[in-house]
């Protein structure tokens, strides 16, 4: 009943586990990328028009999408300069995770975020970006000294809390998406396979998926803010 959830297609390149590629998650994330690129290309084609003309549908879609992203994430940044540098990164993260979570409502496809490797890699990316900007804006020496604040013996605790950040960040996304997938497959296999899964797909796939992507992006912003302001 649940066996298909943990199933992986693994390409073994060497003897160790490090050299293994998880093909299923890889293909699913390629599909998500293809969807996003095709959508962006389609929107871009709609922009080729005269200023005098009435705005085309695609222009309106693009503007409302940009307004949505701007309203949600623009105020969250610590400073205007940081917003200019990182707004596109955070928006890309949000769009990619949203489409990843939504893609599971198509029968036969599964969310790439359902595989723990992908949320973990996003969380590590946010971890690296936050430390990079912390060092860049505060200066490396001052930033590293910040870990020994307020007292030097707090250093191990501060380091542990830094390591815990990407872990909890990734487990939150993975747990929500995977929990929804487990629930939906139990419902489909054991209860009513007709109407009920569709309703639960709406709730777990669309609603929770969008909320979790939003939360992931906002937490990324707040981790970066903390690193910059420390």
């Amino acid at each position: 009943m649940l066996e298909h959830l943990g199933e992986k297609l693994v390409l073994q390149l060497g003897d160790s586990n490090i050299m293994a590629l998880d093909i299923k998650a890889l293909i699913m994330s390629w599909i998500v990328m293809a969807i996003i690129i095709a959508f962006a290309w389609w929107l871009r084609q709609g922009l080729k028009q005269d200023v005098e003309e009435k705005p085309s549908d695609r222009l309106v879609i693009l503007e409302s999408l940009m307004n949505l992203l701007d309203e949600q994430f623009a105020d969250a940044f610590e400073s205007e300069q940081l917003k200019l540098q990182l707004f596109s990164f955070i928006s890309t993260l949000f769009l990619f995770i949203t489409i990843s979570n939504w893609v599971s409502i198509v029968p036969g496809l599964s969310s790439p975020t359902q595989d723990f490797n992908i949320p973990l890699s996003f969380a590590l990316l946010v971890f690296l970006v936050s430390h990079y900007y912390g060092m860049k804006i505060q200066g490396t020496g001052r930033y590293l000294k910040g870990f020994a604040q307020p007292y030097a013996f707090m250093l191990p605790m501060n380091l542990i809390s830094e390591v815990a950040k990407p872990l909890s960040h990734s487990f939150r996304l993975y747990g929500n998406v995977f929990g929804g997938a487990v629930l939906i497959s139990v419902l489909t296999a054991k209860l009513l396979p007709v109407v009920l899964p569709a309703i639960f797909q709406m709730f777990y796939g669309l609603f929770i998926g969008a909320i979790q992507a939003f939360v992931f992006a906002l937490l990324a912003v707040s981790y970066i803010n903390v690193a910059v302001a420390e």
């Binding site: 487990f171 939150r172 993975y174 906002l218 937490l219 707040s222």
Partner: protein, 81 residues
């Protein structure tokens, strides 16, 4: 099935049930607290609604992580152990 193996299986299912049941109490209570105080704030200052909503969602997501940990432990008990 041998007796010891069936005891292990029973313990696995019981533990998964307890982990999920007890583990979600605190997360649910915490999220309720966050939402109730956010609504208090919104009723008092409706012009703050947008920023309160955003802070509320972040707070709930952080509170939820203990619940998510218990979900992951329960899934590991059922499928991995």
């Amino acid at each position: 099935m041998e007796l010891s193996a069936s005891i292990v299986t029973a313990a696995k299912y019981l533990a998964a049930g307890f982990v999920m049941g007890i583990g979600s109490i605190a997360a649910a209570y915490g999220e309720g607290q966050v939402a109730s105080h956010a609504i208090d704030g919104m009723a008092r200052q409706p012009e703050m609604e947008d920023s309160l909503l955003r802070t509320m969602v972040i707070g709930q997501a952080i509170t939820e992580s203990t619940g998510i940990y218990s979900l992951i432990v329960a899934i590991m008990l059922l499928m991995v152990v």
